[in-house]
């Protein structure tokens, strides 16, 4: 049932004095679009609290684009924190949008970001709190069309029953087409199915209800999806791809929140895609091709964005900013113009070589807090397996340069449980980290306060990567390997932290499962699971019981290895990277052979450019 559109702020106002961070629920931030005249109303939602959702650039891009459309208004919604949602449930207050405090269930179109696997129970929580029928196939004709998009769409089967349609790939352009298709379909009196048929014709749009799951000897136990007869849906939905980043609005983020949020700064996307080819990295495979925003456009955008937002920090964001062919030009120019204004410039990660350190130094000028590098594996052998094309010499040179530049703290990211990993590789993590500490003492002196932190996460095999066939490390083995590493690391200047293995196991199980995964998520939510990415809210026992409820074992699911030629649950959705390329990369990994970056050498045959009719779009020559 569609809820009436009305301002219900007065219903939550009495509780603002009782809940944590009431500013999450206030609206009227600088840059928010106040006029919401419609007549077509869309609502974009991030399924976590306001302070986590506001910095999301994808949502900001869609909000900006939809609000520019004639006759279309777009608002935002976030999931209330547990204190507020408990009061809302007690008082039967539905989930509200931010701008007009209207029920989310009163909108024509609701778009939800699939940020990562661990928001899955939040998706159900959000729809349930909103009063929207959970399963898309059971929704009334007049209920909102609920769509999804974002980085975690690449095995969306476990949450697919919640959505009328899922947008694969870049949102720019496609989200407008979707909104207009829904608007026009409603105006013409089309049925819900009629509207979905129109949506399915848009490049990148996957309509889950148009596919059925089959399980046979060619598939895993989770089966594969094929189009239902008579729907006209394609066998494979390829992603929507923007050819040139320069054709998109560089200052998408216009809303300035009142409360400190997780990335409290202006973000300008300088580059989309990465062709380095790390074999574990889903983003590296699914955001191809590489598209750079020209330096001139970036500099203008920073200037404009800072003037209109008032931020005192600007982040040049991408998967690998220091790979941008005009990175040095951009950072030096920003350093010259912004340093005296008290504006900081940051880049999200450093390339693991001297150039990366140089760029970080230019960006941060006087702030030498610390540097973060991601060698990912401790031995050269394993780094070749994962195609992380860095050497011990690169690491040593980067560390020496960083310490010489005044940095005293360094953070190193590694993964545990990568295919072919041995105890020797784990001891290599400790050895590499201790070598970095040694370089620090050599450069800065024995009494200097050099410290190196190591963060070790558990490898989760992801769809559409060369490692998608691999199984995850069992919990007991993870703990044993953690001990191996701890025993090997003896220097007191090293600080070691681990990503929690239990949350990785949930992530791993949901990354492997097909549509059956929805039963697991629903059972977990019914047992009270939500905000699973929050350590203090995560309840592993409830997840285990939920798995038992539906007759599966989490470890059994996450740790399963698939045959290389089996049909996988996500093969009907594609980022353009061919299965043949992924299989080839798997074989090269097993042989310890690396593959070059196609933006710095010749084509490596991933299949994206010919399949999507696109190409890498660089602003200059990379080196």
């Amino acid at each position: 049932m569609r809820f009436p559109r009305e301002d219900l702020f007065s219903l939550i106002e009495p509780y603002l004095g009782e809940v944590e961070r009431p500013s999450r629920y206030l609206n009227h931030e600088w840059g928010a679009v106040e006029e919401q005249d419609g007549p077509f109303h869309a609502c974009v939602m991030y399924p976590d609290v306001y302070d986590v959702g506001v910095p999301n650039l994808g949502l900001a891009i869609l909000y900006d684009e939809l609000n520019r459309l004639e006759g279309v208004s777009c608002e935002r919604a976030y999931l209330p924190w547990v204190d507020m949602s408990a009061r809302m449930r007690e008082q039967h207050i539905p989930l509200l949008s931010l701008e007009t405090a209207s029920p989310v269930a009163s909108f024509d179109l609701v778009g939800i970001t699939l940020a990562h696997e661990l928001v899955c129970t939040n998706l159900i929580e959000a729809l349930d709190l909103a009063g929207i029928t959970l399963r898309a196939e059971e929704r009334d004709e007049d209920e909102p069309i609920v769509i999804a998009g974002g980085p975690s769409v690449w095995n969306c089967e476990p949450v697919a029953p919640l959505f009328d349609a899922v947008l694969l790939g870049d949102g720019e352009g496609a989200v407008s087409q979707m909104a207009l298709a829904v608007r026009d379909g409603r105006a013409e009196g089309l049925s819900r199915e009629g509207i979905l048929r129109r949506l399915a014709r848009i490049q990148g749009v996957y309509v889950p209800s148009f596919y059925e799951v089959k399980v046979d000897e060619t598939s895993t136990r989770w089966g594969y999806a094929v189009p239902r007869e008579g729907t006209g849906a394609p066998e494979v939905v390829y992603k929507h791809c923007v050819d040139a980043l320069s054709a998109t609005e560089p200052v998408a983020q216009r809303i300035v929140p009142y409360l400190p949020v997780v990335q409290d700064r202006l973000t300008i996307e300088v580059l989309r895609g990465c062709a380095r080819g790390c074999r574990f990295c889903q983003a590296g495979m699914t955001y191809r091709p590489v598209r750079e925003r020209p330096a001139e456009q970036v500099l203008e955008a920073v200037d404009r964005g800072l003037a209109t937002s008032g931020y005192d920090e600007c982040c040049l964001s991408s998967l690998s900013t220091t790979d941008h062919s005009e990175c040095a030009t951009m950072l030096r120019s920003l350093h010259d113009t912004l340093g005296s204004k008290g504006v900081r410039v940051s880049i999200p990660s450093q390339r693991l070589d001297s150039f990366g350190v140089d760029m970080a130094s230019v960006a941060r000028s006087s702030r030498k807090a610390g540097l973060t590098f991601a060698p990912e594996a401790g031995s050269q052998r394993l780094r070749d397996v994962i195609n992380k094309n860095v050497t011990d010499e690169n690491m040593d040179a980067a560390a020496r340069n960083a310490f010489k530049n005044g940095y005293r703290r360094m953070k190193l990211y590694f993964m545990m449980g990568l295919p072919t990993e041995t105890d020797e590789d784990l001891r290599g993590i400790a050895a590499m980290s201790e070598r970095v500490v040694g370089i620090g003492r050599e450069v800065c002196g024995m009494r200097s306060k050099v410290s190196v932190s190591i963060s070790v996460s558990v490898f989760v095999p992801k769809s559409h990567t060369p490692f998608q066939w691999a199984g995850q490390l069992p919990l007991e083995e993870t703990i044993r390997r953690q001990r191996v590493m701890l025993t090997a690391a003896s220097d007191r200047a090293l600080r070691i932290s681990y990503h929690e293995a239990e949350t990785s196991l949930i992530e791993g199980a949901l990354s492997k499962m097909g549509r059956k995964g929805f039963d697991l998520i629903l059972a977990a939510w019914q047992r009270g699971c939500r905000f699973d990415a929050w350590t203090d809210q995560f309840d592993f026992e409830s997840w285990k019981q939920a798995a038992a409820d539906i007759g599966v074992d989490l470890e059994d699911v996450a740790c399963e290895w698939f045959d290389l030629d089996v049909r996988l649950p996500w093969e009907h959705t594609s980022p353009g990277v061919s299965k043949g390329y992924l299989q080839r990369e798997w074989r090269r990994a097993m042989e310890g052979r690396t593959t070059a970056d196609c933006t710095m050498s010749s084509c490596t045959g991933c299949g994206v450019c010919p399949t999507l009719g696109t190409h890498n779009d660089l602003a200059g020559r990379r080196s």
């Binding site: 603002l16 004095g17 206030l26 009227h28 300035v256 008032g310 005192d312 008290g342 006087s366």
Partner: protein, 227 residues
């Protein structure tokens, strides 16, 4: 006074806090105003420390949920500007519920606003249940006679002496409720929050709290306006 100290490079701005934005915390208000200053294009001084922060001072923190007609900040300028032009620029770039209402230039060297503005007046609408003026008066007199309020802030027990911090009060009717005009003084030992007093005398939080004004109390007891 040296020539440098006489330079009018301190822009003192009076602003309100109203509507939904009453629920902003002090740090959130500070962040919002600093961003408003940057948007306005006004010149400002930057500290030379680790983080290169804007040189700005704020008057005492207002409790979350309280509105105000008289909050203040001092922005340190690298050179003099026209106060009216500055006010207009700030008004354009600040959320309406925190909009500045007055601005004036003051000498650069002055005591920090937070410590200097040590007197405040509040309008406090008491809980609906507290309608008996005589009973409320008696409860206030009892609390003042005890001379101290003990309360919890978060999970920490606090104790506040009332002799210096509670200056005066007056009860009046506002609609169907009872309102209190309360005058308080902040000292080195602490300051009296209206909600703490109302909780003590009524057993419930107030319906609304609004800070009406802030002043500096001279040695002879006269009050000096920040503007």
């Amino acid at each position: 006074m040296s020539a440098e100290n006489q330079l009018a490079q301190r822009l003192r701005v009076c602003y309100g806090k109203d509507g939904r934005l009453a629920y902003l915390g002090h740090l959130e208000v500070m962040g919002t105003i600093m961003r408003s200053v940057r948007r306005s294009g006004l010149p400002f001084e930057v500290s030379n420390g680790f983080a290169h922060r804007m040189r700005i001072q704020f008057s005492q923190a207002l409790p979350v949920g309280a509105s105000s007609r008289a909050e203040y900040y001092d922005l340190m300028l690298p050179h003099e500007v026209d106060a009216e032009d500055a006010l207009e620029a700030l008004r354009r770039c600040t959320p309406a519920a925190l909009a500045p209402v007055r601005a004036t230039l003051l000498p650069r060297r002055m005591p920090a606003l937070e410590a200097w503005a040590d007197r405040a007046a509040w309008q406090v609408v008491l809980p609906c249940a507290a309608r008996d003026a005589e009973g409320v008066t008696q409860a206030i007199d009892d609390v003042r006679a005890r001379g101290v309020i003990e309360f919890m802030r978060g999970d920490k027990p606090r104790r506040l002496e009332l002799e210096r911090t509670f200056v005066a009060y007056e009860l009046r009717t506002e609609g169907e409720s009872l309102a209190m005009l309360l005058e308080t003084r902040s000292t080195e030992q602490g300051s009296l929050r209206p909600a703490v007093l109302v909780q003590e005398i009524c057993g419930r939080p107030p319906q609304r709290v609004c800070r009406l004004g802030q002043w500096h109390e001279e040695a002879d007891g006269t009050l000096t306006s920040p503007m």
